[in-house]
């Protein structure tokens, strides 16, 4: 029997736990030549702002060991133009999650107000974690009280599923996750990119025009996995895990760590088929190991651990 891959995130029902991550899949049209988009669990579209945003000056990319730095700077056509693309994309029959970005609390509200009556926008992912814009973005995602206030405002403005995307560039990501949960978020997604940089030794200047950028790709997977593990223990709402996933085996690690669903980002660039291949790989794993549903393996890696009593910490102190 085929395993049940269905996942529920807030009011959203997804046929499987795999979605492309925001910013890595455009508005879907770019990948439609490669596979039937209806095979996805959901599609998360590009970070969308109230007004069109031209983004950062090039150079915007730098390849790093097993990874990629980017500083796109939220380039997008603005919510009005994005709405048309979202309507078009929704024809593929899977839920479209709109990543909402802004430079002020009001900006986020404007995007949500504009899309609230649009059936095609099934859910929002609130981007409080973009490292590449000078105002807003990550600035909203690093203080628990700011997160609580912003998410609370958005919660009061929407009946749709509200997902909060968290930044890894914080001291304690569980604090931020708890703030989002207590403000009424339906789920948290993590991680956004890690702040990094690269220098060109020939020109002796930073490679990126923005100087710093966000690191993604396989290089960040262990960090992302650790944070998913921690956050899924700290909150009761579902966690969407992402960061360096390149196939089913990586996705399964995130599910076992406590993620209810996964998003795939930079790997789409190297393998346009990575999302459907990951769906198939997860289904095969569940069948081969006798699990009747994907929900059975969420957080399973934690159950295998014995409760630790007393114990000695790494520094040798009791």
């Amino acid at each position: 029997m085929n395993p049940d891959l269905t996942v529920n995130i807030g009011r959203l029902t997804m046929q499987n736990p795999v979605m492309p991550a925001s910013g890595c899949f455009g508005y879907g049209e770019e990948y439609a030549p490669f596979f039937d988009l209806s095979r996805l669990g959901a599609i998360v579209v590009k970070g969308t702002t109230a007004e069109p945003c031209s983004g950062n000056h090039p150079v915007r990319l730098a390849e790093t060991p097993a990874g990629l730095l980017n500083a796109i700077g939220l380039q997008n056509p603005g919510v009005k133009a994005a709405r048309e693309k979202i309507r078009e994309l929704a024809h593929c029959g899977v839920p479209v999650i709109v990543n909402v970005a802004g430079h002020s609390a009001e900006d986020y509200l404007r995007v949500i107000d504009f899309l609230e009556e649009e059936e095609e926008a099934a859910a929002y992912e609130v981007n409080i974690s973009c490292p590449n814009v000078s105002a807003g973005g990550m600035a909203f995602g690093t203080e628990p009280c700011v997160v609580e206030s912003l998410v609370g405002n958005l919660r009061r403005s929407t009946k749709k599923t509200l997902i909060v995307k968290l930044s890894p560039n914080v001291t304690d990501i569980t604090e931020i996750a708890r703030a989002a949960e207590s403000a009424g978020a339906d789920a948290v997604s993590l991680i956004n990119t890690l702040l990094g940089m690269a220098i060109d030794t020939a020109t002796r200047r930073p490679v990126l025009a923005n100087i710093t950028g966000g690191l993604s790709g396989p290089a960040i997977k262990p960090v992302a996995l650790r944070m998913v593990w921690q956050v899924s223990s700290a909150v009761k709402i579902p966690v969407i895990g992402m960061g360096g996933i390149t196939g089913a085996r990586d996705a399964l690690e995130f599910l076992l760590a406590g993620a209810s669903a996964v998003a795939i980002g930079a790997a789409n660039f190297t393998n346009p088929m990575v999302c459907p291949e990951t769906v198939d790989g997860i289904a095969d794993y569940l069948s081969e190991n006798g699990f009747e549903s994907v929900s059975r393996i969420v957080g399973l890696a934690k159950e295998s651990l014995r409760p630790v009593t007393g114990g000695v910490c790494g520094c040798g102190k009791k």
């Binding site: 890595c24 899949f25 990319l61 380039q75 396989p218």
Partner: protein, 254 residues
């Protein structure tokens, strides 16, 4: 429509210092000026594919001409005939073909790669092809012998004077434009392209430039490879991978 294809290497030869020609066993039906994203390693590092322009395509298979200059292309250079490569393509817009009876093609260094395919296509469409090829020195002036029958004129220029005109290839371009303004197609270093557009503008000749950029997806999704363009509506970023790689000269250089 781009597709992902595993192909096998039929030939892989060093044709000039650091420059290799790779012949594959299958075609992607690319137009001149389009490119492919080629996977250089089956592992996760280096992570990204490498964008390489189509040097030729058709029944004989896809042909790539590239310079091994960075980590990715040096890994690619190690591949042997019989090895497989993963190709994503054809990508990008390609060179437009105009009604003009002749065209001038200006190649700088490895920028020769896409212009050879364009030269063949233009010649087969009955047009005269004036091919101007500039490089730092003579040993970098690689042009496949199979291409020369398609060229009405082939002129070379080198920075050190070791072959052809001693000086920038754009000085040779000016001599030809004085005889008549025809569309000018260019691929090469930014400085050469900029000079080419400036010289052509003096003779009211239309220019098309093929650009290079750091690229991730190659299909227009990531917005990483953008170039600043100047249009009637003002400045805007356009994607080299899908809006380009070919732009009209005045759109990107002014």
């Amino acid at each position: 429509m781009p597709q992902m294809k595993v192909m096998y290497i039929k030939e892989h030869t060093l044709v000039a210092p650091d420059i290799r020609r790779m012949v594959l066993d299958d075609s992607i039906y690319a137009r001149p000026g389009q490119f492919v994203q080629i996977s250089v390693s089956p592992t996760l590092d280096p992570f990204l594919r490498r964008p390489l322009s189509v040097h030729d395509d058709g029944e004989g298979g896809l042909v790539l001409l590239y310079r091994a200059s960075g980590r990715g292309t040096r890994l690619l250079a190690e591949k042997k005939p019989g090895d497989s490569v993963d190709i994503l393509g054809p990508l990008g817009n390609g060179f437009p073909v105009t009604d003009a009876p002749a065209a001038i093609l200006v190649a700088g260094g490895i920028g020769v790669a896409p212009l050879c395919y364009l030269a063949r296509t233009l010649c087969e469409a009955g047009k005269q092809v004036i091919f101007l090829f500039g490089a730092q020195k003579a040993d970098q002036l690689y042009i496949p012998k199979a291409i020369t029958p398609f060229l009405t004129v082939l002129e070379t220029a080198t920075d050190d004077g070791s072959a052809g005109h001693h000086g920038p290839v754009t000085e040779v371009l000016e001599q030809f434009l004085q005889k008549g303004a025809v569309p000018v197609y260019g691929c090469g270093p930014e400085g050469m392209l900029r000079a080419m557009v400036r010289v052509a503008a003096q003779y009211y000749a239309q220019t098309y430039v093929s650009l290079e950029a750091r690229m991730a997806c190659g299909v227009g999704a990531c917005l990483g490879c953008v170039v600043e363009t100047f249009q009637n509506s003002g400045e805007a970023y356009q994607r080299v991978c899908v809006d380009g790689p070919v732009f009209s000269g005045e759109e990107v250089f002014r």
